[in-house]
Point group: C2
Chain length 258, copies 2
């Protein structure tokens, strides 16, 4: 299924009104079933649906590694992905409706508040130069061609310091990251000691997805939030924001930017 379709529109400009067609990004409601049980419906772009399902399960902490995934059956037309896990997964472990603060009235630590516990510090010694960062972001922007056509898509990539290794796009920035991490999981590509680049902002949820994959550096052409920055600082992740042209802001763990 193409990620872009064409729809009739009326275009109004200073010159007047014309009937024409416009490229519009597709949005698919995709329901993920885990061991036959309905888990969640994501609104997504209809590409790389196996990677999306695997990446969602992994980056939300529902499955821990590749070995826990048996089969993935994609029915794109029906809007369904059926994943069989190789072990029983307790319904409690599914952080679905995501009540992040699970006990009313009790204050938690920042990491607990964000629904993220038991994660050890990321201590990767990988470094990236400012010039390498700029080159990666330029290549990343060039690859985001669906965005160019429709203005409606986020992109994400896993990179080393020299090149893009995995690239994905989606109408949701969360989904784009999940597609990248899911592809890595399914293909056995290590994400630790590597770099995630995203076209979207870096709020806490994106940061935590990267943390589950043990990614030490995350680069955005846009802005992080304060909670994203605080979590990155605690977890040992380097956050680079507003990486555009020959400029960038380093928010945390600047020792990895040489």
């Amino acid at each position: 299924m193409d990620s872009v379709t064409r729809l009739p529109i009326q275009r109004i400009t200073a010159e007047g009104r014309i009937k024409t067609e416009d490229a519009v990004v597709r949005e698919l409601p995709l329901t993920i079933f885990l061991n036959g049980k309905e888990l969640i419906t994501l609104l997504c772009s209809p590409s790389a649906l196996d990677a999306l399902a695997a990446g969602y399960l992994f980056s939300e902490g529902i499955i821990k590694n590749r070995d826990e995934i048996g089969e993935i059956a994609v029915d794109a037309g029906g809007g369904m992905v059926r994943v069989s896990a190789t072990r029983d997964i307790e319904p409690d472990a599914w952080s679905l409706s995501k009540p992040i603060i699970t006990s009313a009235g009790k204050k938690r630590s920042l990491l607990n508040t964000a629904g993220f516990t038991g994660q050890s510090l990321i201590e990767s010694g990988v470094t990236i130069s400012a010039g390498e960062t700029m080159a990666l972001v330029n290549e990343f922007q060039r690859r985001s061609d669906v965005f160019q056509a429709t203005g409606g898509v986020h992109s994400a990539a896993l990179c080393d310091t020299r090149e893009i290794i995995v690239f994905a796009d989606d109408i949701g920035r969360h989904n784009a990251i999940d597609k990248v991490l899911g592809h890595c999981l399914l293909q056995g590509i290590a994400a630790d000691d590597r770099i995630v680049v995203t076209s979207g902002r870096i709020p806490s949820e994106i940061l935590l997805k990267a943390a589950r994959a043990r990614v030490p550096i995350i680069i955005s052409v846009s802005a992080p939030t304060d909670l994203g920055v605080k979590l990155a600082d605690s977890l040992g992740i380097t956050v680079i924001g507003f990486a555009r042209g020959d400029r960038m802001n380093v928010y945390t763990h600047a020792e990895r930017v040489t």
Copy 2:
């Protein structure tokens, strides 16, 4: 609580690296309790939290009108809003984990697939001229000053054809719309026969929020998705996208654009 904070950063440019501060948008995990029961945690900007809670409950179809809301108690520091409803609300009515397709393997109509049923066609006779649209969008862009400071916030507004009536911003485009609709609900401002303007894209979820408030026209400076366009067409809502400078695309119900 301010929506923006300042954090230490290292800024790297062609001239070198300096230590400075940057404005970073705040992100608050806010848990909504309804009649004492934990409902959901939203990641949001810490402003207009009463409107956000009311708007979320309304635009998700959990409460139907102003009369169903009793008290709203906001504890911003604790990240909690407690809403008392004037009637018992059945847990089934809460579309929380949002399994959009509720029965595996059965195909549904488009509206059912999007979790939206029983909505009648919006037949508002309101119209807007291209010139009025451009003037509204210009004013809307001018008001989005938090975005200008941090690059991390979406804005939404309720307008008539001449001016902005309610304006809100948030790190989430869904939340920005909920804040606007919640403010309208709490203040008794009618949203039907009026116009929603959003800085974000128009996927199905945004379209359905506007539909619950019976808004006949939605304007974005960005792009809709195909599912957003199809739902708008079915529900009788005019979608105007890419409204920038003196240009715009009308995707549905162009009869309202004069």
